[in-house]
């Protein structure tokens, strides 16, 4: 069965909450779909974004059993970065996961 959006969102929010605790960034503790991840007035600096992405990739691999590469050249060159907000990041991750799942089924 294909992974649904809710599962991915939960992984992302859990990761952000944990990072919020570890990095003492209170805005991450209350993160939701509208939280800005990266860019102007965002919660994460570039090193924290790198850590966030690696953590999400690992959790997706462990919990869903699919290996994705969130930070790839394609994502970096998109006009609207998928890492601007939690919502766009969730959509982007879900697309990659579903693509892998379809490839595995085919």
């Amino acid at each position: 069965m294909a992974t649904n959006r809710e599962q991915v969102l939960q992984i992302i929010l859990e990761t952000l909450h944990e990072l919020g605790e570890d990095l003492e960034l209170p805005e991450l503790l209350t993160a939701d779909e509208n939280t800005r991840l990266f860019g102007a007035r965002s919660a994460l600096d570039s090193m924290n974004l790198v850590n966030f992405i690696a953590e999400v990739e690992e959790r997706v691999s462990e919990d869903i059993g699919v290996d994705i590469l969130l930070a790839n050249q394609n994502a970096m060159s998109m006009t609207h970065s998928p890492f601007r907000k939690v919502a766009s990041c969730t959509d982007y991750a879900l697309t990659l996961i579903n693509k892998e799942e379809q490839a595995a089924e085919a």
Binding site: E18, D22, D45, M47, L49, V50, A54
Partner: protein
């Protein structure tokens, strides 16, 4: 041969114990006797000065006697310890060996058909009637770089050493500059050399206790294993006066733990490269990884953070590689990165090719490894760079945990610890847990070089 300084020296030491090989020990008289017998056997086989000999051996009476008998014949020796036939063949070919000598047990001498004319360096050594030594670069895959030393130059610094009563344990390999340096130093001073039956920490510790070993040359990786094994608590190591360490950076946290475990042992850092030989150094103290070069035969300078050296005992050149790491003035670019401290002391921080470039900021694996090793949960670790779409590269770590634990919790704990000690870009982004060894047979960390894209 009998008029060489080293043969005379071994003759003077006749009654002293030379080698303890497992349960058997030999004195220096047994050594000179064996060298003479082998010298005669080589001559009888038609082996001549200037011939290139692939020598399969080890730190045994036979292996050491064969090495010196070949030096006495002014042959050019390529010691080989590789066990796989393909690796051995690669080395024999790189050296352009004309003879294969096996000296593990019974001596065996076989000619090998020459495939090409001898290299210029070989011709030059033959003309000057100097013995030679061919060493191979370790670590990299593919054809090893074969470098050639003039043995007269390599042995010269030992000729002035005075006799001492030292007992040295050797477990470094027979084809390695550090191991050979320890051997030459020991033999020049009439030391008793102990070769343990294996390189297992408990076997080494037992050998130290039994033979009252005073000097242990080792790598930081081995010393970490040694502490982890608990051998230091189980055996009486009070005879151990000196531990010398080198070949890779020593993590500060590990040095501290060794000092706690062995408070009466002096911890001394050594430095050398296969290309320039071993350089005499002074460690600031047993608790310090700062060293100062103190060697009349070696000059050094620091260029763009990298250590450059020029020594009287450096190689003539490579047999199968260009001299790209040597300047026209004869400086060898070691690839080792150093930081200058006060009073001429230096700190070796890592290898240039292992440096991790995180968005323009440079990270040396050793400083991250030192912080990781502070944690009681971490038994061993290996830090390297991996490609990253955002920062070019990021720091990654392989960790051998001390005990079974929840990987997710442990990962978080490790990152928290690192964040307290290191700048954010130095904190490992990716952590993987492994239980297999992350070092090679030389007890040196096998770091995956950072990829450049």
């Amino acid at each position: 041969m009998k008029n060489t300084w080293w043969f005379q020296r071994f003759t003077d030491y006749a009654d002293r114990t030379f080698l303890v090989e497992g349960d058997t020990s030999y004195n220096y008289a047994a050594l000179t006797e064996r060298i003479e017998a082998y010298h005669a056997a080589f001559t009888e086989s038609g082996l001549q000065a200037g011939d290139v000999v692939a020598l399969q051996g080890d730190y045994t009476l036979n292996g050491i006697a064969a090495l010196f008998a070949l030096f006495g014949l002014k042959a050019i020796v390529a010691p080989i310890t590789a066990t796989s036939p393909s690796e051995r063949t690669l080395r024999e070919e790189a050296a352009q060996a004309q003879w294969l000598v096996q000296a593990q047990q019974e001596l065996s001498i076989q000619p090998i058909a020459a495939t090409s004319a001898p290299h210029d360096y070989v011709v030059r050594l033959k003309q000057t009637q100097h013995p030679g030594l061919i060493l191979f670069s370790s670590g990299s895959t593919g054809t090893p770089k074969a470098m050639i030393h003039d043995v007269e130059n390599l042995l010269a610094p030992f000729a002035h050493k005075r006799a001492r009563r030292l007992c040295i344990l050797i477990f470094l390999l027979y084809d390695h500059i550090g191991g050979l340096n320890t051997l030459f130093n020991g033999m020049a001073t009439g030391a008793k050399i102990v070769v343990p039956a294996s390189r297992d920490a408990h076997v080494v510790a037992q050998a130290i206790e039994t033979h009252k070993v005073k000097l242990l040359p080792a790598s930081p990786t081995f010393l970490n294993l040694f502490l982890m094994s608990g051998a230091a608590e189980r055996y009486d190591l009070s005879s151990l006066r000196f531990i010398t360490y080198g070949t890779e950076p020593m993590p500060e946290s590990l040095l501290k733990r060794i000092k706690q475990q062995l408070p009466d042992t002096a911890l001394i850092q050594t430095f050398g490269t296969s290309e320039t030989g071993i350089t005499q150094t002074i460690s600031r103290s047993s608790e310090s990884t700062l060293i100062k070069f103190d060697d009349p035969n070696t000059e050094y300078k620091i260029v763009d953070g990298e250590l450059w050296m020029r020594s009287k005992s450096q190689i003539l050149g490579y047999l199968n590689h260009e001299m790209s790491r040597f300047t026209a003035e004869g400086w060898f670019m070691t690839g080792d990165l150093v930081e200058e401290a006060q009073d001429g002391f230096l700190k070796i921080t890592g290898r240039r090719e292992e440096l991790i470039n995180v968005g323009g900021e440079k990270v040396t694996p050793s400083e991250v490894e030192s912080v990781l090793l502070e944690m009681p949960e971490v038994a061993d670790c290996l830090v390297y760079g991996e490609p990253n779409a955002i920062t070019g590269h990021n720091v990654a770590a392989k960790i051998v945990p001390h005990a079974e634990s929840d990987p997710r919790k442990l990962k978080r704990l490790i990152k928290q610890h690192c964040r307290q000690q290191l700048s954010p870009y130095k904190v490992p982004v990716r952590i993987t847990f492994v239980d297999e060894a992350i070092f090679g047979e030389r007890f040196k960390k096998l770091r995956r070089p950072t990829q450049t894209n």
